[in-house]
Assembly symmetry: C2
Homo-oligomer: 141 residues x 2
């Protein structure tokens, strides 16, 4: 084994990031699914629709960094569960106009605080200085 490049996975950055992110999002996914029957993609779509209403599917895709197929499917499921409502833009019949339904808002109001709380719990492990650095680092990458 001598003479070979040394690559220790445990200290390899992309790997560690990936593990961390997967661990986190799986933990979250489990909660969303068990308590609300929502997948992560569905919740992301709901999150952007809670933040800005009456946008098109393409905009949802942009703001969630998901591809349009994933978005299309997530929206179809949300529509089936009646958590969102869909119309068609008057000026351009290709575009959909999406917003949370009454029922959707009820779920949103339960999940959003939960998500924020989850973030808090994670950040609680870091001191304030670390938090700031992390934010900056994520910005630059």
């Amino acid at each position: 084994m001598a003479g070979h490049a040394l690559l220790e996975l445990d200290s390899f950055l992309p790997y560690r990031l990936s593990v961390l992110s997967n661990t986190l999002s799986q933990a979250i996914a489990r909660v969303y699914d068990k308590r609300f029957g929502l997948s992560v993609t569905e919740w992301r779509a709901m999150a952007v629709l809670g933040y800005n209403a009456d946008i098109s599917a393409r905009e949802v895709a942009e703001r969630t960094a998901m591809d349009k197929v994933a978005v299309s499917r997530a929206l179809a499921r949300l529509l089936a569960k009646k958590l969102i409502e869909r119309g068609t833009a008057t000026h351009d019949k290709r575009l959909s106009v999406l917003r949370l339904s009454e029922e959707g808002w009820k779920i949103y109001d339960q999940v959003a605080p939960l998500a924020l709380e989850h973030e808090e719990r994670m950040l609680a492990h870091l001191d304030p200085e670390q938090r700031e650095w992390l934010a900056k680092i994520l910005d630059t990458l």
Copy 2:
């Protein structure tokens, strides 16, 4: 929309981590696949086998943080490509004993420097202080 919890996805930490990690690993995956026909799971298995030889599939799973199904499949593919060799432990016939083959080492010696270089390119965006913080932060999470 008044009276609802505000959750801005763009500044939500688990979300940002997930996007960053996905972007990174997809970029890497593309390279590994195009140039070496390796999936990320396959490469991870090879990486741990390059670092410590003659370990079992379970140990590979532990060290890669992948589940045993994923590992089993990755190893099967690597075996089919003759990049690894597999034996059976004498003291426990359930355990496999895995190591990189001659051919496997050749690939390893090409990929490992590439991976490290990739990490370097990523870290190049950060100043030394940020690097240290990032390492520490990942440690604590």
